[in-house]
Symmetry: C2
Subunit: 371 residues, 2 copies
């Protein structure tokens, strides 16, 4: 019998692809096919070909089909560059985001892509990896690529918007989403982070919790400033003293959650609730605390932020703020495209606030009556 650890036979079986005997090292691109070539081949005028390709009703359907078929056969590409030079439009939208590989951000991008495609725009996506230097480089690249508009969610450490000035000077519309900044010429799309955090914290208080830790990120970004503010406001309204040492600032990764758990474990008395500025970090913190034998929600209750799918996988399921990423992407892209089309009033829109809501699950249940 074949030994199950011997996989050599797979290589032989699986990857038999046709052999290529020539090596094509230099890029021998053919000459570009033009409308002149199409006209000559069909023995019709250049004007007719040009009109047909622009779908002018003057040209008959039959002729259009003949031209379209030949264009396809000969590999004709509509001359976007030449057209761009004339119209000054590229039909591309630039996007700068901190990280593409988060559930929330990839949902936003999916929503943008959905609207952009249906409106005939293409997205050019770049990530700043949370670095302002990278964000500046991305802005320059997108500027030189002549995007028609720009959608930005700021990096952790961005503290000036000077790198967006070239866009503003050229009247290229700029929209900030999620991680926004106050800028005289641009629109912000966000949720009411203060209100959401206020609701989350008030919910924990209503469940009998009073020693509530808040895990968040840099206080340079609106979303984290506003969430901390909402947390403080809720404590104040219920006459609970705000404690500086209950605010843990990190990068909101799952690892940061585990680190926060170690700090929480050292606190005496043990906090009885944690409000975290994202679900991923909340999950990391919950797993670490559970491993230390701390019961959730009996000993410590939890509320997260974003409503990532992982919030319904962790046990107990995580109470969180439902934050509509896909819809935010759609709204931001639709607003940008409306500005490009010169839709009345869009350029004077300062802020669009999307609805968010508290989703209550087991992680924040009331303490069972103790014996």
């Amino acid at each position: 019998m074949k030994n199950v650890t011997d996989y050599n036979f797979f290589e032989k079986k699986m990857y038999i692809y046709p052999c290529k005997l020539h090596v094509n090292d230099c890029m021998s691109r053919e000459k570009e096919v033009t409308i002149y070539d199409l006209a000559r081949k069909l023995n019709i005028s250049i004007a007719t070909v040009s009109r047909a390709l622009a779908d002018d009703p003057v040209v008959s359907k039959k002729t259009k089909k003949k031209i379209a078929d030949l264009a396809q056969e000969m590999g004709y590409r509509s001359n976007n560059f030449a057209r761009n030079l004339r119209t000054q439009k590229t039909n591309t939208l630039g996007v700068i985001i901190p990280r593409i590989n988060s559930y929330f951000m990839s949902s936003v991008i999916a929503g943008m892509e959905n609207v952009a495609t249906s409106e005939g725009y293409t997205l050019i996506i770049s990530q700043s990896s949370e670095s302002v230097e990278k964000e500046k480089a991305n802005a320059t690249t997108l500027f030189n690529n002549r995007v028609d508009g720009l959608l930005v969610s700021l990096a952790y450490d961005t503290d000036s918007l000077a790198h967006f000035e070239p866009f503003t000077k050229k009247k290229i519309p700029l929209i900030f989403f999620d991680r926004t900044a106050d800028h005289r010429d641009s629109t912000c799309v966000l949720i009411n982070n203060l209100k959401a955090a206020y609701e989350a914290t008030t919910h924990l208080i209503s469940q009998g919790r009073r020693r509530i830790v808040h895990i968040t990120a840099t206080q340079k970004r609106n979303v984290y400033i506003d969430r901390l503010q909402g947390y403080k406001q809720a404590l104040a309204d219920q006459h609970i003293r705000f404690r500086e040492d209950y605010v843990i600032v990190g990068n909101l990764s799952q690892e940061a959650g585990a680190d926060a758990a170690a700090r929480i474990r050292q606190m005496s008395p043990l906090p009885d609730a944690v409000f975290v500025a994202n679900d991923n970090c909340a999950v990391g913190c919950m797993i670490a605390l559970k491993q230390m034998g701390i019961r959730i929600p009996e000993d410590i209750a939890f509320v997260g932020f974003n409503n990532d799918p992982v919030s319904t996988v962790i046990e107990p399921n995580l109470t969180t703020i439902n934050y509509p990423g896909y819809e935010m992407g759609q709204v931001a892209a639709r607003n940008l495209i409306a500005q490009l089309g010169g839709a009345s009033g869009t350029r004077s829109t300062n802020t669009i606030i999307l609805r968010s809501e508290l989703v209550i699950r087991e992680s924040s249940a009331s303490r069972k009556p103790t014996s």
Copy 2:
């Protein structure tokens, strides 16, 4: 005291942005700044400006700085379009993926973006939403945008590669990754799916399981064909009969996992293991089975695929195949850029296979000896 459910005060407090009193409806773009403008302003020759902007060592550092500062101040944009018409290069790479909002795919994109940026390329990303019609439309858009190369992961229902012919005809290099297809002129980047599935299934058998269900997706795509093949081969090598009714085909969503759980529950005798072609679907299936009172791994053991972060959140933690998405994105982009640079041999590379490995966790532990 303020009622905690009255949030009106937030609106007043939070979103005081500067008012804009003029409405800017028409897109009054200024005339584009040219190198002629820069030369006139500095009273130097156009040739010098041109050389300075191309970083020609002939021009002094001092002059370069003067020109660069003025270019920035006046909002000069390097004339990419005109340059593109000359060089026939756009320094953009097109990407077509089924969905951007999956952990695996967004990791791949992050890896591509990392390499592309460092090599001076920009990604144009589009998603097919698992539809061949959308995939065709994306291909046409990217072709007309004159991308220098294309990176593709195929939709569920793609059964012809005709829509990529225009690229091949123009010798625009094309790389398939993850969901690949056999194509005479392109390179595939993937893992050995057959081997990975063989290992996963053999591991379950070695844990004493014999009634192993396989949950997968359409048999049009290589990844699912190969995983089913590996599963079958492992059964055959251990003299376990393959049962058609143990293969459940769906879209691998978390909901599809819950649906599969309902079917598994009806099977008699109850299967004792499930091998799922992705983690997300495995998690959906596990949650549903647990709700029915079925114990994991005691009653049914589980192995997933991808090593998504969710696999360490679900309880018990999920045994899975570690599939390096970020690295796959880097390798695919690096190979494509090497082809564009005419690197020797790259065009004759058919297939690049990345390493993957079985990560054993609690979900596939041996049954405890029963009393």
